[in-house]
Symmetry: C2
Subunit: 245 residues, 2 copies
Amino acid sequence: MTSPITANMQTAQTKDPSCRGCHLTPLCHTIHDATTSHLNPGSLRVKSRIILQKNATLFMPDQPFQHLYAIEQGAVKTIEYEADGGELIRGFYFSGEIIGYESIYSGRFHFSAAALSETHVCVIDYRDFLTFMQANPEYQQHVFHFISMQMNLGAYLVSATANRKLAGFLVDLSSRLHRQTHRDEFQLPMSRQDIGSYLRMTAETVSRICTWLQQKEIIAIQYKSVRILQPDTLRQLAEGSVSLE
Amino acid sequence: MTSPITANMQTAQTKDPSCRGCHLTPLCHTIHDATTSHLNPGSLRVKSRIILQKNATLFMPDQPFQHLYAIEQGAVKTIEYEADGGELIRGFYFSGEIIGYESIYSGRFHFSAAALSETHVCVIDYRDFLTFMQANPEYQQHVFHFISMQMNLGAYLVSATANRKLAGFLVDLSSRLHRQTHRDEFQLPMSRQDIGSYLRMTAETVSRICTWLQQKEIIAIQYKSVRILQPDTLRQLAEGSVSLE
DNA sequence: CGCTGGATTGAGGCCGATCAACTTCAGTGG
DNA sequence: CCACTGAAGTTGATCGGCCTCAATCCAGCG
């Protein structure tokens, strides 16, 4: 969190296979297909691409909101700062996901964002985005659709027990990370500390529940490597329909 | 929750003072200003207005998402159902607020909605809304703005302690209900049970914290009547910057 | 090989849930 | 007007889950 931003700029000009799965693809796509000048509002253009090293920050709190950030590959955490200086993880963002919508209304980021590993980020100017959307309203439905989806993320955060929260978190991860590997087998991009901070529990509790889930043979976990052995049981655990004493 | 829907339909035709403060006003407004046929996509028209009696339901779980609902006056709670049949309050909606965005992506409501008191609701067909937005993209910015705002509601739900959750809830209410009365003095539209269900704590805990806040002379509360005596202290409590033993 | 930071495991304490009793309020009908 | 009734709210005692603090284990790395 003290590292300077390591930005490796490059202009996007070719159709990029790494855009597959990005929520902006149908919009952003046109940039690749169309032969277009910079002034043509009929295309959404990527302002730049940034490569963040691990722990590098994408933006800092109170920074004016000017861009949407699409994660091309890698992972980002957003961090809120409490009055007493404590840090709380606000959210995680993975390949294909977009940071920024929640900051439109205030025109300012109220949190910081940092890379969990080397991360490639597409920077989209919000004004360009608006211009594009006004010129191409046929994409509105698509944008509403994935904003709507984003509004439903993290429902498990308010679960009653720590078990349910963590189970919900793992289910969530398995669906959001599966592009990289098999759906039920993935690497945790973040530390136990970060998981705990996000779920509002201690890293110790995270660790204890992980070993408990392992003993029940619901998951196999060793440090950052996770394999979900009983996806259905895990899901039921998250929903509270089973307790397993 | 067993009462049938009591719907008193009436077509909106005149500029209505009760539209003041509604998040859709700048869009919906045009319906009043423009002399427009039903087929003119240049206006967003209210499909109908519904008057719900207390406890009447606006929609039920698994019902297809077809409309946005704007609360004209009154209050609505949305309810999730757990696997074991338990009910959890998912959210509250007050005058000027809009229900539905979070259900766009799935095309289905995954929860029910019920009136907390007599409530007037504007029904907006989502297809009409899309048509209007495509024809009038200049309103996009406004829509993104209040959807963005809605994404930031309920941050206090994930607070660590019950004190902070309830303090955050009261601060939230005071800002969202103040149209009706003075900002620091309002009636709770919902029961202790509902508050507890929403904040994921028991009604007993809600009650205990209320009396504790009263003893500290931070609020004055008697049943549904609330007066915030020390707004700043309450806010600091919600943010965790004070503890007050 | 030792160092360092993350992860795990253990013992004790506190916050909030649970269960139960009592009080107050709102609605109804006599 | 009051008596009755059921729902909602308050208050108290006990219990359990998670936090706290501390020690230990382990992987990665110079």
